[in-house]
Each structure stands twice: as structure tokens, then as C-alpha cells.
């Protein structure tokens, strides 16, 4: 006799208990603390904050721990929390030219005001596994610069003085900056919403698309004009106050790509920009974002749209990894009902196919 499958509730409870057990792992190994994650897996925390769109190192660390190190799961946890938070207002645009800089490089000028500052980078490390890191050895303290912080103008501002590069983008008159977390995306998008979507977009997806533009699928001749990492102040406009109070400082990575542009009927030949801005330290993401931003400006600049990276609906509709993972993984849910409908159809079509085949072979025999 057939007994219908019951007990979904118990199964789910047991599965979650097992998950909690696996998350903790061997009990004789000390549990990892949030502080350890914030301090020692800082770039994982940064990625969760960036794609989770919530700047809170402690919550991001908690998410990383709860997700057993699965980044997209951690990002999802942070997003689902973030969406419940009330909005007090919108901050003023952060002033990245006033950044307390920890790293700043330009690939377009050998030297420039503010200088080149390598900072804490993996660049030029030899990727040789370091067995000493397996132990908690004694660390040398890093050397710090002694001279005072020099004013470090943005490369694009230097280039912009004589119109060699287009100015910072302006929104059309009367347009208020959108908020993709509060309104559904209205395609075609203005650049504000597009940049918001790219800022929380999946690093891997944007990296692949950015790479595709370098290999000829929507080529835009980019130069890394400037990448800077450091802390900026966040200020909030408050109606009752005549100055915007500072809420705090956040670490961001900014990338300004400089791209060739031959000019059009609307604009003289000049360099154009692709822009990337990401929470925390993530050069790969901010560079990918800048390349994708530039590729997606094809419509605005009157360029031919020939490649995936230039296709706004394609890029933006599929860059959110929380959405992507949800829909891909939903295939795990039962689909008995639709599958039954398809089974029935395929059976019917197969029997029709057999009937036609046998009919035609009979006709053939008769003819012979």
C-alpha cells in the first residue's frame, strides 16, 4: 500500500539541527569569534557589506559565521535584515576627494599630486603559500609614513580642468536620485539606479562581464585612471540644522576608469568615464563595476550596442546574486504538478510519433 509522504515539519526541524551541528563542527576546536572574522577575514566581511548593501562589520561577520563561509548566503542574510530597517533619510554624496587615503594608484600618470601609495595590496606578492601563517607567529609592525597627509585631488579632476575628460555625470534637471530598494527598477534606467544596482551586483558576474569588454565584446579602451581606498565621512542633511552632522566614517574603494571616446554630434572628442564605488576594500569589484558602468553608457553616448555587457536589461536584471541564487535554487522545490503535465504531453506525442512511423512503414511495404 502506498503511504503519502508526510512529516515535512519534522524533516525540516531535523535538517536545521544537523545544519547547526555542522556549522559548529568539531566541538574540541574553539568556536570562531566575530572579532576574529572582522579582523582576520576582513575582505570577506567587506564583500558581504558591499553586496549586502549594509555597512556594519559586526553583522556582516555574524552573517559569514552563520552562513558557514558561504558568501552569497551571508549576503542574503544581511539583505533580509537590511530591508526591515527604517529609513531616516538620505546622506549627502560622500566626498571622495577628501578621503583619508590608505591606498591610491593611478595607471595613467607616473607621478601626480598626492603621489602613488601602494597600501595593503596583494599586488606584487608572489602567490606562494606561506606555511608560517598556519601558526600564530610574531608579526612585524608596518612602517607608517611620517609626513602629513598631502591633499590628493582626484585624477579625473586634474584631467577635467582643460576638458580632456567629460565632467562628472549630471542627472537630468528635476530628477531626484532613485532608490532601487524602495521602488521597482524602471527600464531603461538612469545612471543613478544603474550604479546602485552595480554596487550591490555580484562580484563574479560583473568581473566576467568586465573581462568580456576587454576581450572585444563591447570594447571601450579603458585605463585605470585612479583607484583609491580609504575612509570618507558620511553626512546627513537634517532639516532643523544649518550644517550636515557627520554620522561616521566608512571605508570605500573608488575606481575611475578613463575611456577613449571619438566624439559624436553632441560631444567633442574627449575621454569618458566609468565609475565604481564599493563599500570596504575591493578593487576587483570596483574596477569591474567601472568597466560595466562605461559599457552600459553605450545608449547615452550613441554607441552601437553589440555585446552583453552593453545590454542594460541583460546586465542589471541578472547581476543580483540574491535574486539569481534564489531562482536557480528554486528548481529544488517540487515541480510534480507541471512535470506531470509534461509527462502526459510527451507520452502523447511519442504515441503519435509511433503511430505515424508504423503507418508509413506499412505504406512502404504495401508499395513494395
Amino acid at each position: 500500500m502506498y503511504v503519502a509522504v508526510k512529516g515535512g515539519e519534522t524533516a525540516i526541524r531535523n535538517a536545521h539541527k544537523l545544519l547547526a551541528d555542522r556549522r559548529r563542527g568539531n566541538r574540541s576546536v574553539p568556536a570562531i569569534g566575530l572579532e576574529q572574522i572582522v579582523e582576520q577575514l576582513a575582505l570577506a566581511v567587506d564583500r558581504v557589506m558591499a553586496e549586502g548593501s549594509l555597512y556594519d562589520t559586526e553583522l556582516a561577520a555574524l552573517a559569514v559565521k552563520q552562513a558557514r563561509g558561504d558568501m552569497i548566503e551571508a549576503i542574503f542574510l544581511v539583505r533580509a535584515y537590511r530591508t526591515t530597517l527604517p529609513r531616516f533619510g538620505y546622506t549627502k554624496p560622500v566626498e571622495t576627494s577628501q578621503m583619508a587615503i590608505e591606498r591610491r594608484i593611478s595607471a595613467t600618470f607616473k607621478d601626480l599630486p598626492g603621489g602613488q601609495l601602494l597600501g595593503p595590496t596583494f599586488d606584487y606578492t608572489h602567490r606562494l603559500l606561506d606555511p608560517e601563517l598556519a601558526e600564530d607567529g610574531v608579526m612585524e609592525s608596518p612602517d607608517r609614513r611620517v609626513e602629513a597627509h598631502e591633499h590628493t585631488p582626484r585624477v579625473t579632476d586634474i584631467l577635467g580642468k582643460d576638458g580632456m575628460i567629460e565632467p562628472d555625470g549630471e542627472m537630468p534637471e528635476g530628477v531626484e536620485t532613485g532608490d532601487l530598494t524602495r521602488e521597482p527598477l524602471p527600464f531603461p534606467l538612469e545612471r543613478d539606479l544603474r550604479l546602485q544596482a552595480l554596487a550591490r551586483g555580484d562580484e563574479g558576474f560583473l568581473l566576467g562581464l568586465a573581462y568580456s569588454t576587454q576581450r572585444g565584446f563591447g570594447r571601450s579602451h579603458p585605463f585605470a585612471g585612479e583607484i583609491r581606498i580609504g575612509e570618507v565621512e558620511v553626512e546627513l542633511e537634517v532639516a532643523e540644522l544649518d550644517f550636515p552632522p557627520t554620522l561616521g566614517r566608512i571605508r570605500v574603494t573608488e575606481c575611475q576608469m578613463i575611456n577613449q571616446f571619438k566624439g559624436s554630434s553632441k560631444q567633442p572628442p574627449q575621454f569618458t568615464r566609468g565609475y565604481g564605488l564599493v563599500f570596504g576594500q575591493s578593487e576587483r569589484k570596483s574596477m569591474s563595476m567601472a568597466l560595466c558602468d562605461r559599457a552600459l553608457r553605450a545608449r547615452e553616448l550613441g554607441e552601437d550596442i553589440t555585446a552583453a555587457a552593453q545590454d542594460e536589461e541583460f546586465v542589471i536584471s541578472h547581476s543580483d546574486n540574491v535574486q539569481s541564487t534564489g531562482f536557480v535554487e528554486h528548481l529544488k522545490l517540487p515541480h510534480y504538478v507541471d512535470f506531470q503535465a509534461e509527462l502526459d504531453l510527451v507520452r502523447r506525442m511519442r504515441s503519435e510519433h509511433e503511430r505515424v512511423a508504423s503507418n508509413s512503414s506499412e505504406t512502404k511495404e504495401a508499395a513494395e
Partner: protein
Amino acid sequence: MTELATYNFAYLDEQTKRMIRRAILKAIAIPGYQVPFASREMPMPYGWGTGGVQVTAAIIGPNDTLKVIDQGADDTTNAVSIRAFFQKVSSVRVTTKTTEATIIQTRHRIPETALQTGQTLVYQVPIPEPLRFLEPRETETRKMHALEEYGLMHVKLYEDIARHGHIATTYAYPVKVEGRYVMDPSPTPKFDNPKMHRSPALQLFGAGREKRIYAIPPYTEVVSLDFEDHPFEIQTFSEPCALCGARGSYLDEVILDDKGGSMFVCSDTDFCEDRQSEGHQGHLSANPAQADTHAAGVEK
């Protein structure tokens, strides 16, 4: 550490609920039209019913009785999980009885028992755009709806007939609502399409990832697309339910062994259990000696 998070009744904050209710009202006012709404991240993954959950959360009140089904069944894991979610965040009464529920959230089925005035059926929708697989661009499909330009869909159905002799769409079969908008009924089998037509219940559709809500108000015309010489037909099953003997209900095939043995049982578990408790039996129920010989169909 952050304080222990507390959540509003039915999880969503009241402002979000108001935003969703506005979208629902607009959807009811324009039957079959997809209303964009500012879908939120929910504590379950996109594609797992976040649209339906947001619609339910926006309309549910303390006096409601909720039923959640997936594939017609109350006990599939995702239905269990969503029901548990609402029990946790809204402590409303839940039921598995179609007749007792004021709100039924569903994925892929419409209950066999006819719905009544005052009931609301909330569908979870993965891809709300019926034209999406013919035209992937939102900017284009929006135009096609605005111009009532549905030729592409008819061509697709016609090509099915030319190629296979019949329309080869078995679920998510497109319908026209109140003579205006072509609508995706969500991936329900086309078997369920006639139940949407002039239903006394309010039917709401939520697509969370795609950020769209649409609706069929009570007693609205819902017509499955077809051709005069190829009228719309629903699936039929050659055998009755093996447990309750019902004919005319939608059946799931259950594999019994690795030698090709299988049985067919009602996908609507509540309907099937009701019939069994009324004494109806199929040829594989506990006591098959009394198996229903008189073919008991669904009263329509």
C-alpha cells in the same frame, strides 16, 4: 551586539504593507495588468514564494485563517515552511481545509473544491510576464501589452499546432483577462485554468523577484487562448485516484518500484483526504475491497 530583532505583525512594516496594498488595489482595478511594486528582500529566497508571501503578509489580519499549498499539497516542505513562517510572525489560525480558509496561498495548483465569495487565493509567481519567453526584454513586452499586441503569442500557439497537431503548452497556459490583458496564470497545469473563470474568490498574484503584482477580481472573465478549430482542452487522466477513486481531479504519478510500476493520486491532498473520510476508496487504499466502483467525479 545588536539588540534582538523584533518584527511587526506578519513580518512587513506597515509602510511596506501600505505600498503593497496600493499595488493590489491597482491590480484589482485593472484585471490582468502587471503592477510594478517595490518588492522587499524576504527571509526566504527569491523564487521560493516571496511574492506570494508579501501579498499574504499585506492582506492578512488576526481574524484570518490561512492555508498554504504547494503542488496542491499542504505537507510539501515549502508549504510547511511558509505556513510555519506566518504562524511565527502573525500567529493567525492555519488550516489544511480549503473550505475553512479565508486566504489560501498556493504554488502550482488551484484547489479542486470550488472557492467561495470572501476567499482569497494568493498565487506565487516565478515569471509574471506571459510574453517573456517570446521577447526577453521588459521594455518591449510592456509596449506589447500597452498596444494589446498579442500576435506573437497566437503565432507561437499556431506553430505548436502546425508542428505537433495540438498546442504543446501544458502549464502556465496563457489566458486573456476580461477581454484585455494576456496573463500568465503562474505554472499551474492548464487543467486549473477553467477554475479561474468567473471565480467568486479574489485571485491575487505576487512575483517577488520580478517585482510585479496582478489580480483577477471575483467574477471576472478568464479565457484560455485558443483557436476556433483547436479549442482549449484540459488534461484528462485515464484512471481514477488510487486512494479516493476520484475522477476529474488532477493526479500526480507516484513511482512505486523500479519495474515501471506507478500509481496516480490526487495532487490536492485535502480534497483526497476529505473524500477518503467520506468513505470513497481507490484500488490501492487500505481496504480496496470497497473500492469506489461508481465513478465519483468532482462536482462542478
